[in-house]
Amino acid sequence: MGATGHSHDHDQHDCRRYLDGLSDYVDGTLGEELCRELEAHMAECENCRVVVNTLTKTITLYHQLPSPVMPDTVKERLYTVLDLKPFYHPAASDAQADTDQPG
């Protein structure tokens, strides 16, 4: 996949052919034939193996990010703005408030 300084005995264009399918591959939705081709290619190409492994790991790491929790103050203001204040109840667990920062 456009390796810089890494030697393997086939052309970079071979690696580029598989770029479009990588995302589907890590999602398990790539067609069977392309899947076999990519896996055969990866068996020979270390860079492509690294790209697929790190792409998968990147997605896993994002799945593992803690979810930010809406602070009670934000929820309370929302109910006020929506004219629903009589229905507002603070979430018990939010007292711990999320320490996760924006993003």
Binding site: L19, Y62, P71, L78, P102
Partner: protein, 200 residues
């Protein structure tokens, strides 16, 4: 919530039942706030997006036709509100309607540091997570919205397409570009131990 429960809720909403409005907020506000925070990158803007989303939803509930779930419908409103605000805030730098044309140059992987081999505790450090959040915030909004809905909120491809009013192929294409950009950035980060300001 199953389909029949949702149909009942929609009917109550369309009849102007205040308790139903409160139920909608109670059930969905947390998710909409998370999306808004990931899109906007700061709490003040996220709160504005949250409020505007529900105000807009309440105003247009009469036109809701159940072609999608309430959840997807709210995600669609929130995504539009967030993207409009981003466009308004940064009219020059941000192209909300980023062209779909591929620039192969930007997609070609250049970093080959295999950070999968790092100890797990190294990968989940707070500093790493802050870098991951910055990396998402710095994606172009058109890629960020797809990535957040698909890979963070874990909507399906078709739900993401529905929420963003995109084709399935556009979602897949943008998701791939977002993922490759984030992989590249994390690879660089882990290979250097940290990322220099020049590379941002």
């Amino acid at each position: 919530m199953d389909t029949s429960d949702e149909a009942v809720l929609v009917a109550r909403l369309q009849a102007g039942d205040q308790a139903a409005y409160a139920q909608l907020v109670e059930e969905h506000a947390g998710r909409i706030y998370r999306l808004a925070l990931r899109m906007m990158g700061n709490e003040a803007d996220a709160e504005d997006v949250l409020q505007e989303t529900f105000l807009s939803a309440f105003k247009s509930i009469d036109t809701f036709q159940a072609r999608s779930s309430l959840s997807t419908w709210l995600y669609r409103i929130a995504s539009n509100v967030a993207l409009m605000r981003l466009r308004r805030n940064e009219p020059v730098q941000v192209s909300v309607d980023e062209p779909l044309e591929r620039d192969d140059g930007e997609l070609i992987p250049r970093q080959f540091f295999d950070f999968c081999c790092l100890p797990e505790e190294e990968l989940v450090r707070d500093e790493v997570r802050q870098e991951m959040k910055r990396a998402v915030e710095e994606l172009p909004p058109s890629l960020r919205s797809v990535f957040v809905l698909r890979d963070i909120e874990e909507l399906s491809t078709s739900e993401t397409a529905d929420a963003l009013d995109l084709s399935i192929s556009a979602v897949k294409s943008r998701l791939m570009r977002a993922r490759l950009k984030l992989r590249e950035r994390l690879s660089l980060y882990f290979s250097h131990g940290s990322i220099s300001t020049e590379t941002r």
